[in-house]
Each structure stands twice: as C-alpha cells, then as structure tokens.
Symmetry: C3
Subunit: 134 residues, 3 copies
C-alpha cells in the first residue's frame, strides 16, 4: 500500500504540467524546483516577486518552505538543497541572502549544490529540496 | 549486509563508464540520467530515437521506465523526476508530451525540476528519477 | 527526535555559506557539491588541485570520499553520483579517470547523471552524492 501524497500549498499555482510541487512518502519528502513566483492569484499568470536576485531568492525560499510545511516538515528536516543560478556573478550575493535567511536555523544545515544553468526568461534562481522526516 | 543491486535492463547498452543505469537498496531506487537512445543493438553505437524533442522525450521516458520496472518499481513509486533540457524554447512542448505520457498515471505525480543545461551533441533531453518503493 | 548531523571533514574549509559539506540522518547520507579544492590551509583561500580535468576530478572524488567516510559510509553505499562538467569535450577523459578511480569498487556502481553547466571560474568539475547506508 502506497502512502505517497502530493503536496500543494494554497499559495501555489497549479503546476504547468503533471507534476507535484512536493511529494511525501513515508519519511521522505521531495520538494519540486521552486522559483520566485508570488502567491498565485486566480486568473493571473504567475509573476516573480521582482526582477532582482534578493526578492526572487527570498520568495523562492518561502515557496520551498510552504511545500515543506504543507507536508509536515520544516527546514530542520532538509538534507539537500539544490540551488540553480543563471550567473556565477550572483554567487556571493545569493550566499549573503541565504545566510540571513537561515541565521536562526537550528540543527545541522542541509548540504547544498549550486550550479549555473539556464532558466526561463526573467528567472534568476530555482531551488529544490530533499527532506527526511523523523 | 548491503542489498544494493545494479539494475540493467536488457534494452540498455552497457554504461559508458563504471556506473549503473539504476541502483536499488532497500526501498530506494535511483535511476541514472537517461537519454533518448533506442534499445541497444550489439556492435552498434547508441543512437537517439530521432533528432526531435518528441521522439527523444518519449524514448527517454521509456528508458527511465525500463530501469524502474527492472528494479521492481513503476512510475507510481517515483518521488522526483529531473528533466534536463538544452533549450528553454522546448519547455511548452516537453510539458505537452509529458502530460500525454502521464495522462493515465494513478496517484500523486512525482515532483519535478526542469533546468537548461548542455548535453552531448544531438541530445535534447535527459531525465533521471528517484523512487521510493512501498 | 532528529538525529540529523552535519559532516565536516578536517580537510575541508568551512563552507562559504550556511550549508554542510554532508548531512546524515538515519541511514541517508547526502554529500554536498564538492569541487577540486586541495585540503584547507588556515588563512588561505581555497585553491583547486590544478588547472586540468584530471587533477580536479581526482581531488573532487577524494573530497566526496572524505565526507562519506567522516559520515561512516563509503563508495559502496553510494546510490547516485551527480557529475557537473563545464565542457562536453571533457566527457571521455572524465570517464577514463572515473573508471580508473573506481576500478576496485566492490558491489554495484552508483547510478550517475552527467550534465554540462556553468561553474565558478577555474573549476571544471563538481560532484555530489547520495548514499544509503545499511
């Protein structure tokens, strides 16, 4: 018997294809790649929180957290965070924002891999996460 | 005692290096990055199913499925699908094909991350998957 | 109660942001993206093992292994290895080095995905790994 469940926070738009924003099965929770889209507004095209790295990074992290929390997890449970940036010049600033965001994190920070890829026009960052719950 | 086993579907060529097309240990099954190569023909260089996104995407998904099934799993068990495309202009068409392919999927669709990377010449898509079995 | 622990080999520099070089929770161990930096020297900026693919690949693999071992695991436990290269022309040489490195590996080799991305200037390869312990 499978207990695999889709996780769809109320703030999130319907995914643009047949995938879930997050999935949990047993104590494993996988968050799909999140970008800096603002909370969904019915009838409107998803829009990023802004053109800059700071607002997109903070919104992306908020979107990952929404999925974690909807699935019964939190940052403390996250094992791996994958950060996709479009520009190596953004590394230092992203790290600053990342460190501010996680300043109060309790327990061991997640592992992380950061690579530089292409993303849809206007998007500067995408993040996904793997969590293992207690 | 480890029960980690390599998964090598009969349709697949020997990997070009010391890695496995899939690995299962306990209830975790990881599928290596698959591309749109047609089933292996002894003595012939692996060839993609065609030059276009549609045939490569369908063949890639078929190759992922072969590994899942050889390992005793199916799409229903997949938690995460990573899609690597070479061109952001392919996103909409890939989603169409993806949705057709998964139209009959039962249960929660897997989470997914799509990023745009470089791939060997002629290849337009690569996909890997993480499954958690019951 | 969480048993999630950070893994920081003595050879490794402090990560440049609030993440861990590795994390273990229960039988899951995630190694963060490693690059070809030589063992840390206090007060010095991290430096790659050399400008070439061979020395960077071997050092990167050594760095992944350090994290695995510090976390109580080894290559035999690794399910998935993600290889990020900057140049498709490096695929064949990387595979040669990879095969030499894993020549004595016992048990099923890990699954692997190789994609071509951007990395910080001077770095040719990055590798992360997911292990499932017995």
């Amino acid at each position: 018997m499978s207990d695999k469940t889709a996780i769809t926070p109320a703030t999130h738009t319907q995914p643009p294809a047949k995938f879930s924003h997050g999935v949990r099965k047993g104590n494993i929770l996988q968050v799909a790649g999140q970008v800096g889209f603002l909370p969904a507004v019915p009838g409107r095209t998803p829009a990023p929180a802004g053109p800059g790295l700071r607002e997109q990074t903070l919104q992306t992290l908020a979107n990952v957290r929404s999925v974690l929390e909807e699935g019964g997890a939190g940052w403390e449970d996250v094992m791996m965070i994958r950060v996709y940036l479009t520009d190596t010049a953004h590394f230092a600033e992203m790290n600053e924002i990342y460190n501010e965001y996680f300043a109060d994190l309790k327990g061991a920070p997640a592992a992380r891999t950061t690579v530089y890829v292409g993303l849809p026009a206007g998007l500067l960052i995408e993040i996904d996460a793997l969590a293992v719950l207690d």
